[in-house]
């Protein structure tokens, strides 16, 4: 039904009276071989959980930063099997860190739902975040994920009504991904009060941890969100560090540095 490592990791952060830090980077970025190093920098910097993105040709929920990374990855020839291989590399080196795959639905559909669940589990993955698979369309996937011990994290949005939140959280496992703002991924100067209200409304429906993503890019924002959420999810800010760096190694160092700052942030609730 769920993934024990993910549940334990989030429970441990809660026991320390802090929010968890969840970092995102796409596979294939900056290169197929380099992606595992980039994710390792997230872990070395102090991320509790990592999400590895499956780059997609049509990332409708992503802003310009992650679109650019996805384009680089796809032009570099990244394949679904490479994404799974990156997950395998990361989990082998870091057996205590839960690794989720974040992917648009069509690549999973094309790979085969049961086959994808089995191969993700075999690679040591802890579960999936599927931002364009609504709960109404998810029964077959949920069965496949449950069979493999994978968590399925659903996204809720400020526009989600209370009765719908209950439907979504009843089906999700691991944690609930609360979108802080109405919009696509990307850093923002303000993360907004919408998030706090959404977290409260979501908590009223579930015992699952509620983690907040979209827009967070620095330690101050991380601390703000950590004050009311169980986890803080950061993606575009890491991607931007790698895009801005003079070399891949400089990019990984910048990711490690930013992760360490954010890890401080989530401990200042």
């Amino acid at each position: 039904m769920t993934n024990a490592l993910l549940d334990q990791t989030l429970a441990a952060a809660k026991a320390e009276n802090r929010a968890a830090l969840i970092g995102y980077l796409p596979a294939g970025f900056p290169t197929i071989a380099g992606a595992a190093q980039a994710v390792q920098a997230l872990i070395d910097g102090g991320a509790d959980v990592v999400e590895i993105g499956l780059p997609h040709s049509d990332p409708v929920l992503d802003g310009a930063t992650i679109q650019t990374a996805d384009d680089i990855a796809l032009r570099g020839g990244v394949r679904t099997k490479d994404v799974l291989e990156t997950i395998r590399t990361v989990t082998a080196a870091n057996p205590t860190v839960p690794v989720l795959c974040m992917t648009y639905w069509n690549p999973v559909d094309r790979y085969g739902q049961a086959r994808f669940a089995a191969d993700l589990a075999a690679a040591g993955g802890a579960g999936c975040i599927l931002p364009d698979l609504p709960v109404e369309e998810a029964d077959e996937w949920l069965a496949a994920a449950a069979e493999q011990g994978l968590a399925t994290v659903f996204v809720v949005a400020p526009s989600s009504r209370d009765e719908r939140l209950a439907v979504i959280t009843a089906k999700g496992t691991g944690f609930v991904y609360a979108a802080a703002v109405m919009g696509v991924t990307g850093t923002r100067t303000q993360v907004g009060e919408l998030a706090e209200d959404l977290v409260a409304r979501t908590r009223a429906t579930t015992e699952l941890p509620v983690c907040v993503g979209l827009g967070v890019s620095n330690a101050v924002q991380a601390a703000e969100v950590a004050a009311f959420a169980d986890g803080v999810i950061v993606g575009s800010a890491f991607v931007q560090r790698i895009l801005d760096a003079a070399s891949p190694e400089a990019g990984y160092a910048a990711v490690r540095e930013l992760t360490a700052e954010l890890a401080q942030g989530v401990r200042k609730r």
């Binding site: 997609h56 394949r79 690549p107 931002p131 526009s159």
Partner: protein, 416 residues
């Protein structure tokens, strides 16, 4: 055939196709559209206002034209054109746009956004925004803003903002992606006036319903003109809105062949085509399960067509259903065959068709030769070709070299 016309089901499925694959942030907005559309359908005032607009603003009913000189090239089969090119704004797109604009007003929203390929849907949306006093932003692939520059000017003249989309293949697919991103961020004020029979439920059904008038009129017109139903109905298919519109009321007429013509670009044996139903596989794109041009990892393959309006790697889910059920058939037509049909209709009938619609004309020529001189073929002439004169001029070499160099001199500030 009752099962074919009773789709979609409550979840938006046409058999195995359709559904609603959207981010949670859009669920409330899409449900609002579905609810409001159901209420509007039950409201006689909505139908009355829409019908008045279709008559007095659009100019419906559109005529049915016998094209005898053109038909001579089709083995003598009698070809009848449903003249959606004569609608206000120059294509069928206005039918759906006026319906959704009325719906937008009912929902209390004040801003319209839309994607456009050839620019016809963008022009129609900008037109409705002007008519209803709404703000309007149109997303158009950068490649398409260049090949359909006249329509960019028309949209801006009408007061719309036109955003050239530079991501991905810089064509229709990417314009849709960008419109979805805008909608997620501005959903409180904004309706995404989706322009084809694709996307999440209820769009495939609703857009079909708003275009259904094409087939309703045409069926009665053909019966009156010829005393019988046509042997075949032919329409071009990109997303598939004009084809669903003209096909729908013929679906129960089992003896009427429904033939959709897809853009084969440089040929379906090459990688440069947009023949989604011919060469694609089932998958999920832009909110519904349908046929998609995709690689073995589920990444969308960039399509190609000389026609911006057919240059799309997906297709409406109801077409996927009609294909798999066998009720409709889908054939490819190359750029070259479409352009030849464009020239032929221009020279034989004095009607310059859109490049999109020229695919249907080419399909009708082929079908006419197969069916023989007794056949009656209804073709949906979905749009007019004024917007395509830049492409046609380049393709056929219609402009003198002198004219080109004069233009360059002018652009350089009249050097001499």
């Amino acid at each position: 055939m009752s099962d074919v016309t009773s789709v979609p089901d409550a979840r938006g499925y046409f058999g195995a196709f359709g559904g609603r694959f959207i981010p949670e942030a859009l669920v409330a907005a899409v449900e609002q559209v579905a609810d409001e559309y159901e209420k509007a359908k039950a409201d006689p005032a909505f139908a009355a206002e829409l019908n008045t607009l279709l008559k007095d603003y659009t100019g419906r009913p559109s005529p049915l034209s016998d094209v005898r000189r053109f038909s001579a090239e089709a083995g003598g089969a009698r070809i009848l054109l449903k003249r959606e090119d004569l609608n206000h704004t120059g294509s069928h797109k206005i039918n759906n746009v006026l319906g959704q604009a009325l719906l937008t007003r009912r929902m209390g929203k004040t801003r319209l956004i839309a994607e456009t390929g050839a620019g016809q849907h963008g022009v129609a949306t900008a037109t409705a925004a002007a008519l209803f006093g709404m703000d309007c932003t149109i997303y158009m692939g950068e490649v398409d803003t260049q090949r359909q520059a006249l329509n960019v000017a028309r949209m801006r003249m009408l007061g719309a903002e036109v955003v050239p989309v530079k991501s991905g293949s810089r064509t229709l697919k990417d314009a849709i992606n960008e419109a979805f991103r805008d909608w997620v961020a501005n959903v409180d004020s904004t309706h995404y006036l989706f322009g084809t029979v694709a996307g999440p439920h209820p769009f495939p059904m609703m857009v079909r319903d708003f275009h259904r008038v094409i087939g309703q009129e045409a069926r009665a017109q053909v019966l009156e003109r010829t005393g019988k139903l046509p042997d075949a109905v032919v329409a071009c298919v990109g997303g598939g809105s004009n084809a669903m519109g003209v096909f729908y009321d013929f679906i129960p007429d089992a003896d009427v062949r429904l033939v959709g013509i897809e853009a084969a670009g440089e040929g379906v044996e090459t990688p440069r085509h947009a023949a989604t139903l011919t060469k694609g596989d089932p998958g999920v794109l832009h909110g519904s399960r349908t046929y998609v041009l995709q690689d073995e990892d589920g990444q969308t393959i960039e399509s190609h067509s000389i026609s911006a309006g057919l240059d799309y790697p997906g297709v409406g889910p109801e077409h996927a259903y009609l294909k798999d059920s066998g009720r409709a058939e889908y054939r490819p037509c190359t750029d070259a065959d479409a352009m030849n049909a464009l020239r032929l209709l221009s020279r034989t009938e004095g009607i310059i068709p859109a490049i999109e619609s020229s695919h249907a004309l080419a399909g009708a020529l082929e079908l006419g030769r197969e069916l023989g001189p007794d056949a009656v073929i209804l073709v949906n002439l979905s749009g007019r070709g004024d917007k395509d004169m830049h492409t046609a001029a380049q393709y056929f070499g219609l402009l003198d070299d002198d004219a080109t160099s004069d233009d360059q001199t002018d652009a350089a500030g009249g050097a001499k």
